[in-house]
């Protein structure tokens, strides 16, 4: 199989804490791509934004026998050089301000996501 090092993957996450089983996989795929030496960004918008509110992701634990929760996954992703970005407009949906966000997440506007979607090699939408 061909190596895809250096490719750029944009992951768009629209699911949040109200659907826990839809939160882990996009981060897992992002970490897999990063491990394969791809440049990866996860863009959180719509409901996806609410998992970035401080204190929320810690509450989402799919496997009760594990000490891994959604916050662990977000931290692991950032440690793997996955870039986390959030849609500025979506913050208002959840009465969030920039001060509510967990550390390491940057805010971008809607026009940026269009530019990024056109620039990246592949977009994965969840």
């Amino acid at each position: 199989m061909e190596d895809h090092e250096g490719k750029r993957i944009l992951v768009i996450q629209t699911h949040g804490v109200e659907t826990p089983t839809r939160t882990y996989s996009p981060l897992f795929y992002a970490m897999a791509a990063a491990a394969m030496e791809m440049e990866v960004m996860v863009w959180f918008t719509m409901n996806g934004t609410n998992q970035l509110k401080m204190g929320e992701a810690e509450k989402i634990q799919l496997d009760k026998t594990s000490n891994v929760n959604l916050k662990t996954m977000l931290t692991m992703a950032m440690d793997s050089d996955v870039e986390l970005r959030v849609c500025q407009q979506s913050l208002e949906l959840w009465d969030m301000t920039p001060a509510d966000l967990i550390d390491g997440v940057e805010i971008l506007g809607a026009t940026s996501i269009i530019d990024l979607a056109l620039e990246y090699d592949h977009v994965m939408y969840f």
Binding site: D3, M31, A32, A35, M36, E37, D63, V68, S80
Partner: protein
């Protein structure tokens, strides 16, 4: 092979370790090296589902991935502890990635490489009693739980 256990994690004293990246190197008689994941690494990953190695002929600088490994709870790179060319991959991993879990220092080796700067880079790794001491430090510092071994394991 002489070994020691640290928190149930097996450390073979004859191998050279990149402790922070949890990889080992064995220098072969022909000057090539065999590279694999440590017992600590396989335990942290849990039962491995897939291991995707880079292709034979790939040149790697130290620190770049030679493989991507995924389990049900973790996915990440196996970082090359030396610079050089991958000359052989462990074909057995494609059909049975848990070879890494069962035999991290034997049948679960990951790649063989022709190193390009071995003398300098091996000096940056640890071996023997120093490796055991470094792992004791790491396991304590990172609060790593006791290593677990799946059925059929043969770590040394």
């Amino acid at each position: 092979m002489s070994h020691e256990k640290v928190n149930e994690c097996v450390i073979l004293k004859d191998l050279h370790y990149s402790v922070e990246d949890n990889t080992w190197v064995k220098v072969n008689d022909d000057g090539t090296v065999t590279v694999g994941m440590t017992d600590v690494a396989q335990s942290l990953a849990g039962p491995i589902l897939h291991a995707k190695t880079k292709s034979v002929g790939t040149d790697r600088k130290k620190g770049r991935p030679i493989a991507t490994v995924e389990s049900g709870k973790w996915v990440g790179p196996v970082k090359s502890p030396v610079s050089g060319e991958i000359i052989e991959i462990n074909a057995g991993l494609a059909g049975d990635a848990q070879l890494i879990n069962r035999s991290p220092y034997g049948a679960g080796w990951v790649v063989k490489m022709k190193p390009e700067n071995l003398e300098a880079e091996i000096g940056e790794m640890t071996t023997g009693d120093e490796a055991v001491a470094r792992y004791k430090e790491k396991i304590e510092r990172d609060k790593i739980q006791a290593c677990t071994h799946i059925a059929g394991s043969d770590t040394y």
